[in-house]
Subunit: 313 residues, 4 copies
């Protein structure tokens, strides 16, 4: 029995001593203090170069609306209330009879167009850059990796028309986008490369289902596969987005984990995810490359944020 | 007595018959269906021209954080809660042990950096473009003028360094910015003109008080005066913003109504307002003119929105 | 014109001077400081006498459940969230591995079994005991008439089996209960009198519709009529309740105002209202007279409260 | 090494096979389907007997108020909002000019006077009656052990004046009430016994600190010790309550776990806990034994409930 105890002691010692010195699986290439991952690739040079894509001045509002009816991941709910403080009975304020409305939100953040922060998805409670849940997750807000840290985003967006690539209106749920499909779509559209700090947007036609077949919208979607996610990571992509609820292909690929693409992007590679984007008009205009700006509301400690990115060309 | 009754009857008749044919005080110059006011001035040409202001690629994140501690107009409160649905007891999901955090917001929208929609402030319950409160305000969201209507904003921003103009760090509360001060600041900074569709940002140094003297931050601020508001309106400004809670000078100017500048901008002229902006770094860089983008979260029926505009030059 | 001005001045003077001396329409018979109306009738003597009705020791839980699915008056919504603060990743607290759940509520109070406080319904913004809305209603809670003022209720309840009286399972919507019906039901059940400080409960069979025909449940119900409300007031009733959403008959009686019975009970007479009671078992047991206790949660400034009265006999 | 593997295999087998047949540590004595623990002791006979304690008709409202200012366990927050739906601009409804207020709650349930349901505290995620967290805890409400299951409570309450026993106004924090103190207080007050189905209320004078020394109120309190909790369990007590935030002594006794008294009462013995009770008037009146009624609001899936018990004698 002594031998066993010895082995266990050695194992425990190794665990405590050496494990901490190994770089953990989610370590950031930008250093131990990094909390924004590949957004670091969006340098002034990158922004300046991307701004040259503005040649027409046409802006695209990429958000759908957030409300109680838009399909949302259960058990998320949302409500807004409009009220008129201190004006009961038709009171108005002062000589110019000022009246006003105010609004209250009660609900889950991940409804409508939203960005997943790096504190959203982890691997067995290990989150981006070796952050352990027990160390940074508090009931009243994340102490690290919160969305308030997201810097101003102004970079190049590449729009991949996967519906066009598959020659269909709405790409079938469960269709995985991996390297072959991504490069195929790029070739078809004449996009030469995906580069460090880029935003990659996948158009699947899926948004057309909202209000028509919400159940189908929620039960799956085409999207990024595991190899595709790793490919985007290898290119240094900053943000990946799609016009559906998961970005990631659902049902998951054979052998894949639950939201493993989310794990690969967010936890392993510091790549942000934007879901439920409205890319219809961009596709119509063949706005394959554009200047993409995003200012995420800075709610302290937020896991996700309701956003409305603007693409311009 | 008959005469009186006759007069009253005539008045009532006139009121009912003719008043409705008169354009109302808040009519939009963009027509009866307009719901976004001077944002209509932000055309593709305007956006394209403004994009030429990007010469360095430097982006500015203009939002402050929104949380329970940031000074807010009473009785507004805010809270965020982070939780781990379906992971009680350390459960993880699937073979790759996926774990996740989600977040819930409970609170008033007008906290932190926010845009006032055109449904925020009215004149005796008459809001922008002749919309009567009774016709469009519902407890579960505005039926018109909600923030979900705000288009993609990509235009020129003009930053007025009022602290510099007054040769001080923090401009005194109650200091009104009217035509003389606005044009004075422009001259000082070499800004030639304010134009249709511009965003005008006032720097007052006021943000420096947050966390140091929250009480002072909330009890007043320097800001736009009535004549100044009318002047901006005459120039066709789309959005006016400031680095304090009200944009508008508080205490109000002598003879002014309660938030009358808000009435002039929002209700009479369809000019949006952004409050609590962080303009510190822009001033440090003398980024007097920049490319300004804003994508307001599209919460259906929302009065205001928590935003994070991005300025770039 | 001078005459008109004179008349107007006299009118204004009269208004200011004499109007305030007239007792207002909602004055309490318990004095200017009263904020709980007929609950004042529930004296120690009343409670002691009512306690004698306990002869079997059987208790009745009179509340239905409150949740997102129970039919509610629009636009009321409700949600509960359960979370495990500080236990992310399966952490437990201390040597005995303590774990815990906590819960958050987001929603409107008036869902499920609820008591209407005296600040709920007014007559042109005049509420119980001459309280004008502008004087006591604040966005962050009532400054008077809030439910935190409701004293301990322990009194006699009289249950009127209106379904039995009309010889039906579910009394038809729009059926008004006035003096004739109330006294008829009393006679049928052998109830001799309704007395000061009593709770009067109307059984209509209506609760059986929940989950079966929610739409019908919400679109009307049998209930108290105007004459019936005045009759209860004349008897000094403290609380009136029913097993449906409004207590009051809906559609309203011919010529009646909108929720005029609510006005008569709450505003004019200081009689509380409890809605959505579960009276099924009491009727089955013919528990016509019982000892009724109610402790309303004391949320400061609350208009209504989610309650669960207990009847015992 | 084979031996080790064999031992491990045997252990695993035993674990799977026999462990499930052993009654678990939190098994209910009322059977596998039980979800309300010792409330089962409150039979009709018990209620009837307790009702005889009503000899004066005096009722005691035992709740303190729930609001944003009352001291609460972090990070709990609370807010109420009062609004006037569909009455913007002073609109009223119908010919009798009906106006109304409605209210919204956003906040944590465990604030003010509250009952801890049996799903509140567990031992390593094992809750009352062998319920494992993973099986019954959902983000949108408990699937078992929710407060909606709490039956009507009408039973005997025994009030122990611990401040009197210790001959002080406010018993010092950290003072544990164990068998000796409990029986000592009973003797001093002439209480002969604690019986099955009783509610035991501890008066510590602690409530006097609210509004005067909120920090002290929150940082500890005198209360039930581990041996005392087991003693109450041995007597078959249904509910234990106190006039402070934890009922349980804080700082915990030497060698005790974190909220181990909560574990003993809730998880091991199915005894409910009520905190923040106002017992001042009962003590003044020496209302040592009384008839105690409680109707907990039936929010489906709720962990705790904001309550207002009524004691009568």
């Amino acid at each position: 029995m002594k031998k066993i105890i010895l082995i266990l002691m050695i194992a425990a010692f190794w665990n405590v001593t050496f494990a901490q010195q190994k770089p953990c699986a989610t370590a950031s290439k930008f250093g131990a203090d990094d909390s924004v991952g590949n957004l670091n690739y969006i340098t002034a040079e990158k922004t300046l170069a991307a701004s040259k894509l503005i040649t027409k001045g046409k802006s695209y509002r990429l958000a759908i609306e957030t409300n109680k009816d838009v399909p949302a991941f259960p058990p998320r709910t949302f409500s807004i209330t409009v009220l008129q403080p201190d004006q009961v009975g038709g009171e108005s304020l002062g000589p110019t009879k000022t009246t006003y409305n105010d609004d209250i939100i009660m609900g889950w953040v991940g409804i409508g167009t939203g960005i997943d922060g790096l504190g959203h998805i982890g691997i067995d409670n290990l989150y981006f850059n070796c952050n352990r849940a027990a160390d940074f997750v508090a009931a009243n807000g994340l102490k690290k990796l919160g969305v308030e840290n997201i810097p101003a985003v102004a970079t190049r967006a590449v729009l991949l028309d996967m519906a066009g690539y598959f020659n269909t209106d709405i790409v079938k749920e469960g269709t995985a986008f991996n390297r072959a499909e991504i490069e195929g779509a790029m070739r078809r559209q004449g996009i030469k490369s995906i580069e460090k700090g880029d935003v990659v947007l996948f158009y699947t036609g899926w948004l057309k289902l909202i209000g028509k077949d919400d159940k189908r919208y929620q039960n799956g979607n085409p999207g990024l596969g595991i190899e595709g996610a790793k490919y985007l990571a290898s290119r240094g992509v900053a943000i990946a987005g799609a016009d559906n609820e998961n970005l990631e292909v659902v049902p998951f690929e054979k052998g894949a984990g639950v939201f493993e693409v989310h794990q690969i992007l967010l936890a392993n590679n510091g790549i942000y995810i934007i879901e439920n984007l409205n890319l219809e008009e961009m596709v119509k205009d063949k706005a394959w490359e554009s200047f993409f700006t995003l200012g995420a509301p800075r709610i302290t400690g937020g896991v996700q944020a309701i956003v409305n990115p603007i693409a311009i060309r």
